[in-house]
Amino acid sequence: MTDSALPTFIAESRELLREMEAALLECEQGETGAEAVNSIFRAAHTIKGSSGLFGLDGIVAFTHVVESVLDRVRANTLQMDRTLAAILLECRDHIEHLVNAVADGKSDDIQLATKGEGLLQRLTARAGGVGSAMTHTIATTPVAPAAGREHWQINVQFHTEVLRNGMDPLSFIRYLGTLGDIVALKSLTERLPAVEEFDAEACYLGFEIELASSESQERIEAAFEFVREDCTLQVRPQAPAAQEVAAEKREVDAKESKASKSSDSRSLRVDGDKLDKLIDLIGELVTAGATTTITARKAGLSELNESTLRLARLVEEVRDQALKLRMVQIGPTFSRFQRIVRDVAREIGKEIRLEIGGAETELDKTLIESITDPLTHLVRNAIDHGIETAEVRRARGKNVEGVVRLDAYHDSGSVVIEVADDGGGLKRERIVAKAIERGLIADGSSLTDSEAFALIFEPGFSTAEQVTNLSGRGVGMDVVKRNVNALRGTVELDSKEGEGTTVRIRLPLTLAIIDGFLVGVGNSSFVIPLELVEECVELGDEHRSPDGDQRYINLRGAVLPFVRLREMFSLRSSASRRESIVVIRCAGQRIGIVVDDLLGEMQAVIKPLSRLFSRIRGIGGSTILGTGQLALILDVTSLLDLCLNTRQAHTAPRRALMD
């Protein structure tokens, strides 16, 4: 085992610790199932085992005690209850700290060690009895579960010279008897030669002994100290047969009940960079394929055309599969919130349960990483401001225990993540009053509910009456919105006063490819994300006068403000004879973008622009067209901001853009 395996150990341990946390939280809520206890035990056991391989004695020693307690829970000699689960959670945290310390390269932190000892004392005090037996049975090998009397399987083959060296095999077996009870003994006589070859001074015997003993493996091995050189010795712990059967049965149950568990074991770890490289290459393959298709069409050979089409279909399939490689289930991310909800709810003295739905919904790994922070914020908000205190809930005739619900599902090419609570809901009037006070909207303006609720995503907006240390400092919702927008997602909010609030985050499935709508302005091509496009209409001649001030059209009775991409981007090409409006909907607003040509739908592999263009607004990236030319992808959100800014300079009222 080399140190290069250490990062794997750390990653695996963290994963196991997460599993352990989830299971412990389950137990704490009083749903102690055999599967949960098993999974906690397995986690502790595996961590202990692997840290033994790396010689991380601190982790082995600590985890061992935890494991022993767990083993008793598993054997039903100790009852799992809330207090025990709470202590075990703390122990889990301590193991995590120990693992983190190893990751940081400082495994001998004295403070940590003292803290660990305190924890163990509490644990053994709670579990009772095991303390004295455990502390000195720190196992030397990872596979030794030790609880009370253990069954040991000892296989000893004495070498032929033993008798000549003055040793009596029987004396060792007699000595073993002082260490515990010999349950079974079998002589191994395979090595006995035929009578004519038999040497009376030679030893041909071996023994298989089953020993019930509370001694450690070391002590048992030490019994054979004097014949160490003259025998082949194997000592291994043996689970009692009944327990083995039970364990097997449990495993079968687990397999049946959770197919996802078994799929875990068939998965393999791949370096994320390798995947990115593969997806990059496939992106190029798609582009190259498109070029070939165009060339083939020009060549006009029907056979060539056919084969390129077949190729294109295959490439598309390969791309879809490759993108799926990056997809991971959101479940583990959701489960992490169990802990946050528990801790935060305790801190502020509310009773809150977290419900999770759609755990098997898959989305891009990078998305999951980037969405954790905004989600944390939303969950904390729900606990802190959403759910009322127990008294208020009782007075309102609600269940005292509040519910926060995390949900995820796929919806027309995007992923929706919901954070819902059954708390007090948003008070519309207060939001509107506050917005008027802050000058965000004009007094007396009429807003729809969704427009009013959207106000809380404005920077510096917070209606919390109390500022707690968790949230409510007025930063937050705007940051959530910004983060989500940066991922090309949107946030919306539903709320009913007295019934609760639901925040809905809509995200693209992947960051690597978008469905786009290709438009042309002069010689330039632009891609508009397809999900934002509502329709395309021709720009009537009456709106085409270049000096005309009117920047809106009548779209079936509604006012549709528009911008000319050519002016917006100061493109040098001259206006074309025909122009069209692409109607897009973004952030609850509808605007038109005037372009020369509508070139149709396409799948665009997003190529990030150089850092040189990091401050650019209105453009989110680039993509390569089938012709090898580059097209720019519009970032509609920032484009809209850009319009608003220029419009405001024009003293045009901002509200004019809301439909």
């Binding site: 990059d280 992106g283 190029e284 582009t287 010689n523 330039s524 091509s525 911008v563 002016e567 917006m568 981007f569 100061s570 493109l571 040098r572 190529k607 990030p608 622009l609 150089s610 850092r611 040189l612 263009f613 990091s614 401050r615 650019i616 607004r617 209105g618 453009i619 680039s622 390569i624 090898g628 030319q629 580059l630 097209a631 720019l632 850009l642 800014n645 220029t646 300079a649 024009h650």
Partner: protein, 178 residues
């Protein structure tokens, strides 16, 4: 086996350090160290990026990557030359801290690859040159004439250009669209 390969590579590197690519901008000859040059492309019009300062011509597709193209004339504050048959895009790699950036530069014509030994390179004059003094790494003597050896990390300093692009972009926003 590996070791010899490395030493050969080192030797090549040492040799390459004195190699320069000379090219023409307007009526002057410039040189760039060959180690920073990745390749030379035939000129194809880059995709224009809106709201960029004049020295950024746009982006080109370099085997699937969008590479920004800088007009060196404009970067030096001169009018850009017209595109001719000889116009090229030289693909250059620069380093800022540990990040490497690939940037294309438009030049009027590419001349040759030369060896200019260190003894033939004079320090840059503090004034009197036609471009900013900190852009010049040194003055190389080639056949009795001076060529300006450019300091590629300065000329194509991503941080500086990023700031300039931002200034250009926000200037556009303030101007009310006519």
């Amino acid at each position: 086996m590996n070791k010899t390969a490395e030493t050969i590579e080192d030797a090549e590197r040492r040799h390459d350090q004195n190699q320069y690519l000379t090219f023409v901008l307007g009526r002057e000859t410039f040189a760039l160290g060959i180690l920073s040059i990745k390749e030379i492309l035939e000129y194809s019009p880059p995709t224009e990026i809106p709201m960029m300062p004049a020295f950024i011509r746009g982006v080109v597709n370099l085997r699937g990557a969008a590479v920004p193209v800088v007009d060196l004339c404009a970067r030096f504050g001169r009018p850009s030359a017209a595109v001719t048959k000889k116009t090229c895009i030289v693909i250059v790699e620069t380093r800022v801290e540990d990040e490497s950036h690939v940037i294309g530069v438009v030049v009027d014509a590419v001349n040759e690859v030369l060896e200019i030994p260190g003894s033939e390179i004079e320090p840059a004059p503090s004034f009197g040159a036609s471009i900013r003094a900190d852009f010049i790494e040194g003055m190389g003597k080639v056949r009795g004439k001076f060529v300006m050896i450019l300091d590629v990390d300065r000329v194509l300093c991503v941080e500086e250009m990023e700031m300039l692009t931002q200034a250009a972009a926000s200037a556009d926003v303030v101007q009310p669209a006519a």
